[in-house]
């Protein structure tokens, strides 16, 4: 049953120390090849969810499967299928961009496969000759795209992106969105992303899950959600649903 989904999450709970609830009975599914957006206010549990699926932290209870594999039971197998871009992910300041790309991709690939992945990441990073310069001299946007380049070039079955365009200017944001779309469409990479940028979510995602206080309070295609809430865009959907939930 779980094999049919790229991501299957059921009644997932994460409680931190001192009883702080990260997520509280979260359930959603993502189909293979889909781009799924997780949206919600700050502190609603988006990053917690993505971290659990990326095997960085363990859930307190509930089920989480990626392509039929339990994230708690076989994290190494999960990590072979996924790649994760954390929120504000940076890179080692003492390395050059090229060294960083080589280092990260060498953890996944060998031989010719590695060389191809490196070439691809260099191309994605769009750094030109600066790829040979130390990362400490890079702007925030350059570092972000560099980190994204190794994640995309690994062509995982599932790409988990935590606010991929945070801190990027309009041009760079558009560049990143187009890359995500390209890898989804050309290579069939399933994408789970979280974002506060509703334009971005509308542009990229086929389906959206709206998370509030650790639970999914609305889910569906963007058009469905707009229709249901009688909204003109996703921002309006977001405001209406979260306001309703807070009452």
């Amino acid at each position: 049953m779980y094999d049919n989904y790229a991501v299957y999450v059921e009644n997932l709970v994460k409680i931190y120390g001192k009883g702080n609830v990260g997520i509280d009975g979260l359930s959603f599914t993502i189909n293979p090849g889909e781009v799924y957006g997780l949206i919600g206010p700050n502190g609603s549990g988006k990053t917690t969810t993505l971290r659990i699926l990326a095997t960085l932290i363990k859930p307190t209870s509930g089920k989480a499967f990626i392509f039929g594999v339990d994230v708690t039971k076989d994290p190494l197998r999960i990590r072979k299928m996924i790649n994760y871009l954390p929120e504000e992910a940076g890179a080692y300041r003492d390395l050059t961009g090229m060294d960083f790309i080589k280092f990260m991709l060498a953890l996944r690939f060998r031989g010719e496969e590695l060389n191809k992945a490196i070439d691809e990441a260099v191309q994605i990073s769009d750094l030109g000759p600066k790829v040979f310069k130390p990362i400490r001299g890079y702007s925030k946007g350059m570092k972000r795209i560099l980190a994204l380049s190794v994640v995309l070039a690994s062509k995982p079955k599932l790409l988990i992106l935590d606010e991929p365009t945070t801190g990027l200017d309009v041009e760079k944001s558009l560049y990143v969105r187009n890359l995500i779309r390209k890898y989804n469409q050309e290579y069939g990479v399933t994408v789970l992303l979280s974002s506060h940028n509703m334009l971005e979510v509308e542009y990229l995602c086929q389906r959206v899950g709206m998370i509030y206080k650790g639970r999914i309070i609305a889910e569906g295609s963007i058009e469905d959600l707009k229709t249901k809430t009688n909204s003109r865009n996703l921002e309006e959907v977001f405001i209406k649903i979260t306001r309703e939930a807070s009452y």
């Binding site: 931190y16 932290i57 190494l76 992910a89 080692y92 996944r108 980190a147």
Partner: protein, 425 residues
């Protein structure tokens, strides 16, 4: 006005930093404790010097020699005992001085200006107390000098030029089954202390580097990206561990080369004192000859073991921190702990027994020096115990580091909340 705001902001920043507060507390506790320890050890050393009995093998049958000894015995409070067997006397008194057959003859001769005693001091460890024991010889020689001057003037009315004689002692220090000259003992004691402190520094810095590197990695936001890669967490732990060991070996090597250069550049001869005749400073060579190639290899193994141990400890602490501020909180106690252990062993000495072996292995910082002492004493079983203890603790720490790396805390970091730290919100 602006200056006041900036000043207040800066002061608030460091007052609110737990690392700053912890450092203040530790400084007071550490140096206060160290002062108490020094005071206690010094008192013990003085007590030892004031109560230490001395065995005398009197080979000179002349009355003058006997009179001098009786005089000295009175001056020293009846602490001189005549013995006939060196081995028994060493076991019983710890210090044995041989008054040579020609002692009186030399005293009364116009041609002899330096009179030497052969003496042996048995010690079980290098410490302040052991140093005090060797200093007792100095007291004894001075007492003999006073005694013969007084007796010669008051009783025999002899030529005052006879008073210009210098008394010295050719002292042998017995440690376990090894015999060292006083020069070698002093050299090894000073080199041992220098090595001990350097090793403590290197080992402590190794732990602090491991913590800081992880903190920087977390601050640079590359850590989560690394953890999401398809590699076992133990690979990350071992990679970081071996890297920190290599870095510290390079740094420790530089420190030790610096120390050797410093020793090489120092005076090549010990100044002559009443208890140590002038002899070449064999320096490091004395130590090398004494402990042999095996000793050097064992020291190196101990050092590497120590670095792996503290590297693992640093990685454990580093996995708990979320930033460099927290790294500072974690590093301070570790640095003080290792430096404190090194100081304590210097002051109190390391007694060679099974419990000390286990303790030294478990706390690692004194292991290289302890191994040398054990080797010199021929206590090979204690070396095995110390290594066993160190190996078990090191493997446990590595296992713990891997275990923590598989826990949420490596991502989330340890968080001290004001309520738990200060007892209020």
């Amino acid at each position: 006005m602006a200056f006041k705001h900036i000043l207040m902001r800066e002061i608030k920043a460091f007052i609110k930093n737990p690392a700053f507060i912890l450092m203040i507390v530790l400084m007071v506790v550490f140096y206060g404790g160290l002062g108490q320890l020094f005071s206690h050890a010094s008192q013990e050393a003085v007590k030892e010097a004031l109560t230490q009995n001395i065995g005398i093998i009197l080979l000179d049958e002349n009355d003058l020699a006997k009179e001098i000894l009786i005089y000295a015995n009175k001056t020293l409070g009846g602490r001189i005992f005549c013995v006939s067997n060196m081995s028994d006397a060493l076991n019983k008194y710890g210090i044995v001085i041989i008054i040579p057959e020609n002692f009186t003859e030399s005293l009364l001769s116009n041609k002899t200006f330096v009179i030497s005693f052969n003496s042996t001091v048995a010690i079980d460890r290098f410490s302040l107390t052991a140093s005090a024991k060797t200093a007792i010889l100095e007291i004894f020689i001075n007492t003999i000098q006073d005694a013969y001057r007084n007796i010669i003037i008051s009783k025999y009315g002899l030529d005052p030029s006879l008073l210009n004689k210098k008394l010295t002692s050719n002292t042998i220090v017995k440690i376990g089954e090894n015999y060292l000259s006083m020069g070698e003992f002093n050299t090894i004691a000073s080199i041992g202390m220098s090595f001990l402190m350097i090793l403590a520094i290197v080992i402590a810095i190794n732990a602090s580097n491991a913590v800081n590197f992880m903190a920087i990695e977390k601050v640079e936001k590359a850590f989560e990206l690394l953890l999401a890669q398809p590699i076992p967490r133990r690979t990350i732990v071992l990679g970081k561990l071996v890297a920190s060991v290599i870095a510290s070996i390079i740094m420790g090597g530089a420190y030790i080369i610096g120390l050797l250069l410093m020793i090489g550049g120092m005076s090549s001869e010990f100044p002559a004192t009443s208890t140590s005749v002038s002899e070449p400073n064999s320096g490091v060579n004395a130590l090398i000859q004494l402990i042999g190639t095996n000793g050097i290899i064992l020291m190196a193994v101990s050092l590497v073991l120590g670095l792996i141990y503290t590297g693992a400890l640093g990685i454990i602490l580093g996995s708990l921190v979320s930033d460099q501020r927290m790294a500072g909180v974690m590093v301070a106690p570790v640095m003080f702990l290792f430096m404190g252990l090194a100081f304590t062993s210097f002051i109190m000495g390391l007694e060679l027994n099974t419990i000390t072996s286990i303790w030294v292995g478990a706390t690692i910082v004194n292991l290289p020096i302890y191994i040398v002492y054990a080797l010199m004493s021929g206590s090979y079983e204690l070396i095995l115990v110390a290594y066993g203890s160190a190996a078990i603790c090191t493997i446990t720490l590595i296992g713990l580091a891997v275990w923590i790396f598989n826990k949420d805390i490596v991502v989330l970091g340890l968080r001290f909340e004001k309520k738990s730290l200060l007892g209020r919100k």
